[in-house]
Symmetry: C2
Subunit: 344 residues, 2 copies
Amino acid sequence: MARSEDGGEKKPLERLGVREIAKRVGVAPMTVSRVLSNPDMVAPATRAKVLEAIEAAGFVPNRLASSMKGNGRMIGTVVPPLINSGIAEQVQGMSDECQQGGYSMLLVQGEFTTEAEEASIRTLLGWRPAGMILQSFVQSEVARQLLVSSGAPVVEISEIKGRQPIDMVVGVSNFETAYAMTMHLVAKGYKRIGFVSTPIHGNDRLQQRRTGYHAALSELGIENHASMEVEVPITAAGGAEALATLTERHADIDAIFFSSDTLAIGAVQECHRRGWAIPDRIGIAGYGDMDLAAQLYPPLTTVKVNRYEMGRRAVRQLLDRLGGKQKLATITSLGFEIVDRESA
Amino acid sequence: MARSEDGGEKKPLERLGVREIAKRVGVAPMTVSRVLSNPDMVAPATRAKVLEAIEAAGFVPNRLASSMKGNGRMIGTVVPPLINSGIAEQVQGMSDECQQGGYSMLLVQGEFTTEAEEASIRTLLGWRPAGMILQSFVQSEVARQLLVSSGAPVVEISEIKGRQPIDMVVGVSNFETAYAMTMHLVAKGYKRIGFVSTPIHGNDRLQQRRTGYHAALSELGIENHASMEVEVPITAAGGAEALATLTERHADIDAIFFSSDTLAIGAVQECHRRGWAIPDRIGIAGYGDMDLAAQLYPPLTTVKVNRYEMGRRAVRQLLDRLGGKQKLATITSLGFEIVDRESA
DNA sequence: TCAAGCTATTATACTATTATAAGTGTCAAG
DNA sequence: CTTGACACTTATAATAGTATAATAGCTTGA
C-alpha cells in the first residue's frame, strides 16, 4: 500500500475531519461534533479552543457523514423546465426558505412523463433527503410507493383537490381560478371566449383550469366548441400562434384566456403586429401575473398566484413536520386574485 | 433498548440496504454493490437474481454512503436569483447535462455579497461535491481558499478574462459583446447612446459590459457622460424607469443599450405607453436574446448569448475532468451574436 | 498431477460523523 | 468523609456502501 518511507508509520496526509481537529485541540472527536451541533453542551473554554482550530484549519464538516446518522438536511425537489414556466419564482421561494432553515436543496428537472418522473424521484431518494417537494400529483404508482416507504415527508405543489395526496399538498384550486377568470371575462361582456394552454396531458393543474373554464361557460349557458381550445408550447411564439389559430377558426372570438402569462404576452405582441386593438378587437387574459404582466402595454389582465410563496410554504410544511410540529395541515390552499387590468 | 419480546434477538426491522438484499439473495454485500456499479464483474446468473431482489424490494441505493468512499456524484452550484435574470436557462443547461452524466445538482441561491457567497460555498462544500460551478468570479479570498483546498474541480461561469480563475472558466467576453453592440448601434446611425444595467457592484460581467460600451464610444470619439448611465433593479419596471430617467436627463438620447432583455422589454412597453415610435423616436437594444425578444413588437435587437449551452459546457468541463480527461481547456469561450432586429 | 492463470465471489476494513452509554471530575449537602 | 447531583467529556458502536486483498473454484498447459 505504498507505505512510503517518510520515517513515520501511517501519515496518509491526515484528512481534515472532526478527528483531526480533535487531535489538534486535544479533545475527543465527539466534543468537536458537539461544538458544531450542540454548542451549549460544551464548556465555553473548550468550545473556544475548538472553534479556533476549526477556523484555523478551514474545516467544513462533512454533511454526508452526519446525514448517514439520520440528520439529513437536504430537501429534494423535481421541477418542470424552468424557462418561461413561472416555476423559477417557486424555486426561489423554496430555496430561500430552505436556506433560512439550514437546509440544502437538491434539484432535478424532469419532464411530466411517468418514466422520467420515476427516474427523478429515484435519484433524489438515493440521497436520503429529509423531505421531498414534487410538482403536480405524482403519476407513477411505483414512484408513489417509493416515496411512501422512504418515510420522508412529501409536499406536492399541485391542484389542491382531486386525488389523494401522498402526504401534504400546497397549492391553489386551479379550477376556482379558471372559473373565476372565465366568469370575470363574461361579466366584462365577452361572449366568445377561447382557451389556450400548454400541453395538458398528465398535468392536473392544467386539467383543472380547463375544467373551470368549461364549468363557468356551461353554467352561463354559453356553448363551447372544442375547436375554441388549443394547446401550444410554453413560449411567446406559442401564444402568438394560438391567437392566429383560434381567430382563424372563429373570426368572432372576442377574448382568449391563456393558461400562462408567457403565452398571453406572446399573443399581445401578435395583436400589435396585426394592428389589432386590445381589448377592443380582442381581449387577452393570462395566468400567473409574472413581473412583466403589469408593465405590459396594455397591462395584462391575469390570475395572480403567488408562486414564490407557494415554494416557501411547501418547504415550511416540510420543516414544520421535521421539527415535530403537531396538527399540520394536510392541505394548504393559497389564495388567488383576478387582477383586472386593461388587456381584457 | 426496548428489546421487545418478539421471540427473536435482534430484528430492528432490517433496514433496506445492500446487506439486506445480499442476505435475501444469499450472496455477499459486495456482490450486490458490484451489480449496481460494475455489473460486468458479476456472473450473469447472479446478477439476474440480485436485480430481481432489488426490484422486488424497491431498494434505492444510498448515495450518501457511496459518496463517502469518494464516489460522489453531486455537482454543487451557487446562482443569483432566478427570476428575470436569464439564469434559469443556464440552470436548465446544467441540470440537463448533470442528469445525462448521472450526477445530481445541489443548488444554492445566493446574493453577490462576499459573506453570502462564502456561506453558500461553505454549505455546498459540506456535501463534498464532485465539482462546483460558480457564477462570476469568486470574490471572497477565504472562499477561494476553501474551494482550492477542497480539491474539487471548479468552473466559474463568468467573464472570460480578468482575474486568475480558481480552476476553469466558461463564458463569453462581456467586453466584446458590449463593444460589438455599441459599435453596431453607432453604425446604425445612433449618436447619443445611453447605457442601463442592473447593479454593477461586485459583478464583473456587468463591469465588463460597461467597459466595452465605454471603449467603443471613446474609440469613436463620442463623448460620454456618466449621466447617460443608470442602474436599476432587474425588472420590467426597472427598464421603464430607466428609460424615463435617461430621456428626462438627456432629451437628445436616441438609443439605449440595456444590459438585460428584461430591462429592454420593460422600456419598449414604456415607449408604447408614451406613443414613442421604436426605433424612430428611440432605439432599444437588449442583452440575452430571451425567448420573448424575437416575438416582441417590435422585435428586439439584442446580444445573443447561449446561456443554456453555457450551463451545459460548465458541467461538461467538470465531468471531463472527473473522467480523467487530459489537456482540458482552462478557458472556454462561447461565441455570441448581435441579433439585429427592428428595435434599434 | 501440480502449479499457474483465470473468473467469480467473499471478508475485512475503511470513509466521517454522531447517538448512546459510560466515565471523569467537582461541588455541596448529609 | 462519603454520597449524590451535576456538568462536562470520552469510548464505543453504528450509519451504508465499496476498495482492497484474500479465497474458492475451475480450466489449462507442462
